[in-house]
């Protein structure tokens, strides 16, 4: 056997582990921190990997592939499992044929998400086993076990990771083998198993309970759950990255380290309890292990002292341990008094972002610019309500643009706009949604708007990519996850086909056209759609003729600063454009907006001369 040592992220380790475990089909919709799993898997020959339209479809495609007998991996971020919950629960009911592993990448502390939730509850809800790696080595090892368990117990397996596991790199010993057990790609007709008519479903449900009983027996003896003996004074029950923090905070303690966190092994827990004086459960987010251990009649403490939200770290675990009377307070190191009022550095739209122009236009409509305070608040309606969605463009919420009033979950902008209109607000309503998000869950919203005669404007920002999560392809981009050219789903035809009559398509970088289109759409008393089309600046690498400001013409009106372009800066109270990051010729948004015509290419004469 060929062994090698590599420094890999959790996501890379999962991809290689799944490949070595013989996975043949992989599906996903991008979402931080899960995206790199499919990105890595798509590079292997012999695997079919797809970006699905959304997580629900990813789960359904995965379920179909599993029914055909092949090992299948479906990955998504935590909120993706909300979207995929229906087929996930169905998969838990029908069971599988080829191993089906579902990865939920949770985001404690909300590094890059619209919310925080602990998806361990899904394992209990669906009555499926759950594995949780603590580092990349475990991610690599456990993924193969997950496929084995799936096939042995006829169940999807929930494989739960967190941002810190997905995105941390650590050393992995790889076994360069690929399980090439010939998989029969074969569908066995079996309506009792696969057709969930009430009578059949009723017959399946007892199996779900039976398998949890069997898996509980497995959990007692599997090496993924282990007792690590310490001095016996303090016992720690932990899993995932929390275990890593706890090992450093409690170097002397005994540990019950759980690689499988549902179902729990009652006898092993009892045995551990018999070995130690006190048990402290160290886990992130909800008291999931704590409550399940307490149900076994074992006395433990945990969330009485540990935070119930946000990410853990060593300091947080140490603080809780002191509070619980388990450790002495460390010698305090005086905190440095930081420089007062350090400016934050929120992310911003890139220089040359195709979204900038449309949001600049929106920010100037109605009384938005006048009445919204710096927090984007106003009791009075502004005349234009902008329901927003999720993507790079959500950054337009920040000053100076302040051009977004809501963001809930993917696709919600359109439904929310319909709701506001039907409730009877006085302002006009624009829903703003990105192209990938539109494909993900905006289409049903448009259909609803047509069907229910919604008097709203939907602005679709078509930058040809799923930019926010790192520029993945999507159904409208014309390229598959594995780099083959595919039929582009045409947004314009799609919305026209659904019955929208007023549809305009404009170039993102033609500010006048964007303004004209948005104004006329808002003036239309019935449903209208504006597709604002222009390449994402990261995809379009053409940078030429950066712009500059001719200070002899500039009267410091500040209009260009209101675009929120990072290249437009102030030095010694004078405006200038950072030529190393300006997109130049392909953008020119500031040049079009400058009322004094003071902006033009560095090399040539400023426009208008």
């Amino acid at each position: 056997m060929n062994k090698s040592r590599k420094l890999l992220s959790g996501n890379e380790a999962i991809a290689i582990g799944a490949y070595h475990a013989g996975v043949l089909v992989a599906t996903a919709y991008p979402g931080t921190p899960s995206t790199e799993i499919l990105e890595n898997l798509s590079k292997y020959k012999g695997i079919y990997a797809e970006w699905s339209t959304n997580e629900k479809v990813a789960m359904e495609v995965g379920l179909g592939a599993s029914y055909a007998g092949v090992r299948t991996l479906v990955s998504m971020k935590h909120v993706g499992l909300n979207v995929a919950a229906d087929p996930f629960m169905a998969a838990a009911t029908t069971g599988i044929h080829g191993g089906l592993v579902v990865i939920s990448a949770d985001d404690p502390g909300i590094h890059s998400s619209q919310g925080e939730q602990d998806n361990r509850h899904f394992a209990k809800l669906a009555r499926v086993p759950m594995l949780e790696p603590a580092d990349s080595q475990e991610a690599y090892d456990l993924i193969e076990i997950a496929f084995d368990l799936s096939e042995k117990y006829d169940t999807p397996v929930l494989f739960r990771i967190t941002t810190r596991v997905a995105h941390s790199k650590s050393v992995v010993e790889l076994d360069e083998k690929r399980i090439s057990k010939e998989r029969t790609k074969h569908f066995h007709h079996d309506i009792g198993k696969y057709v969930m008519l009430p009578t059949n479903a009723r017959n399946r449900v007892p199996n779900m309970h039976k398998r949890i009983v069997e898996l509980t027996r497995y959990a007692e003896t599997t090496p993924v759950n282990q007792i690590i003996d310490g001095d016996g004074k303090i016992g720690i029950i932990s899993s995932g990255v929390s275990y890593e923090y706890a090992r450093e905070v409690f170097p002397q303690a005994s540990f019950l380290k759980l690689g499988m966190t549902y179902p729990l092994p009652p006898e092993l827990v009892q045995k551990f309890a018999g070995k130690v004086k006190k048990i402290f459960v160290v886990e992130e987010l909800d008291p999931f292990l704590e409550e399940n251990v307490k149900l076994l009649g074992v006395h433990v403490e945990g969330k009485k002292h540990l935070p119930r939200f946000g990410e853990l770290n060593k300091a947080a675990v140490h603080h809780a341990a002191v509070q619980a009377g388990l450790l002495d307070r460390a010698n305090p190191i005086a905190e440095v008094t930081l420089v007062k009022n350090l400016p934050g550095r929120p992310p911003l739209l890139c220089p040359g972002c195709p979204h900038s122009g449309a949001f600049f236009v929106l920010s100037t409509i109605g009384k938005r610019a006048k009445v919204l305070d710096s927090e984007g608040r106003s009791e009075e309606e502004t005349g234009l309500i902008i329901t927003g969605d999720i993507g790079c463009y959500t950054l337009a919420t920040y000053p100076p643009l302040r051009a977004m009033d809501t963001t809930a979950c993917m696709g919600a902008s359109i439904g929310q706009a319909i709701g506001l209109e039907k409730a009877g607000v006085n302002s006009k309503i624009a829903a703003v949604i990105g192209d990938s998000t539109f494909m993900h869950s905006g289409i049903t919203g448009i259909v609803d708007a047509v069907y229910n005669d919604a008097k709203i404007t939907v602005i679709i920002l078509d930058n040809g990519t799923t930019a926010m999560t790192g520029h993945q392809d999507h159904p409208g981009s014309g390229m598959s996850a594995q780099g083959t050219v595919t039929e582009k789903v045409d947004i314009e035809k799609l919305v026209r086909g659904a019955g929208v009559k007023d549809v305009q398509v404009v170039n993102s970088f033609d500010v006048k056209a964007v303004r004209g289109a948005i104004r006329s759409a808002l003036d239309n008393p019935s449903l209208s759609v504006v597709i604002v089309r222009g390449k994402c600046a990261v995809i379009n690498r053409v940078r030429k003729n950066p712009r500059q400001i001719d200070l002899s013409k500039c009267n410091d009106c500040g209009v260009c600063v209101m675009i929120g372009c990072q290249a437009i800066q102030k030095r010694n109270d004078k405006l200038y454009i950072d030529s190393t990051i300006c997109m130049g010729e392909e953008c020119r948004i500031c040049e079009q907006l400058c009322p004094k015509k003071a902006i033009g290419p560095v090399s040539g004469k400023p426009a208008g001369e």
Partner: protein, 206 residues
């Protein structure tokens, strides 16, 4: 991680999206891997591509558990930008080494006039509460003549390399850079690395 471990190093790299911090820490991680050491490395970038703050935690030793460094525990803080240095000073351990690139990248709030960029003296004063081992290097200036500002990360890595107790010789560094960098930008980066080393050997903070 044991305090007796001579190879133990907690390094925190901070800066702004686009400065190549993650790549610099990846290269250092690979170099430590070659040495047979244990490594945990974690980056927080949020949406850094769009100009936000970036941090990269790198922990090296015989056995490392937590991927995150903790406040007052970093042996070295390597800052690519001054405001970010000021933000993370609390992570440096007392007497730890702070290497700060003398570069200001003002966030947009400063152009909008709502906030002000901290002065050098204020920043240095906050560092002096933790350490006297402080160097402000003109990395961006020193690489200017190489003709590519994007080599700053490798210059900073070269500078840092002279302070690591990891016994990695220059041949090993070179082979690491070779593996991690595309060939068309290899030469210029090898020069940036060397420049960083030279610059570090000329300062007196050891």
């Amino acid at each position: 991680m044991s305090d007796l471990d001579q190879t133990k190093q907690d390094i925190l790299m901070v800066g702004v999206g686009g400065q190549g911090i993650i790549l610099a820490s990846d290269i250092l991680g690979e170099a430590a891997l070659e040495k047979g050491l244990d490594i945990k490395k974690t980056d927080t970038l949020g949406m850094a591509q769009r100009g936000g703050s970036v941090t990269s935690h790198l922990r090296i030793g015989q056995k490392v558990w937590s991927p995150l460094t903790s406040p007052a525990e970093a042996d070295i803080l390597l800052a690519f930008e001054k405001l970010e240095a000021a933000r993370w000073v609390n992570y440096l351990k007392p007497g730890g080494l702070a290497i700060i690139n003398n570069l200001a990248i003002p966030p947009l709030s400063i152009s909008l006039g709502s906030q002000k960029y901290p002065g050098d003296q204020e920043i240095l004063d906050s560092f002096k509460q933790r350490t006297s081992r402080l160097c402000l290097v003109d990395g961006s200036g020193k690489i200017a003549h190489l003709g590519d500002t994007r080599t700053l990360n490798i210059f900073m890595l070269g500078f840092l390399s002279t302070f690591l107790p990891l016994d990695i010789d220059s041949a090993a560094w070179e082979s690491c850079l070779r593996k991690q960098l595309p060939s068309r930008i290899l030469d210029i980066n090898l020069r940036a690395f060397e420049k960083g080393r030279e610059e570090a050997l000329s300062v007196n903070i050891r």
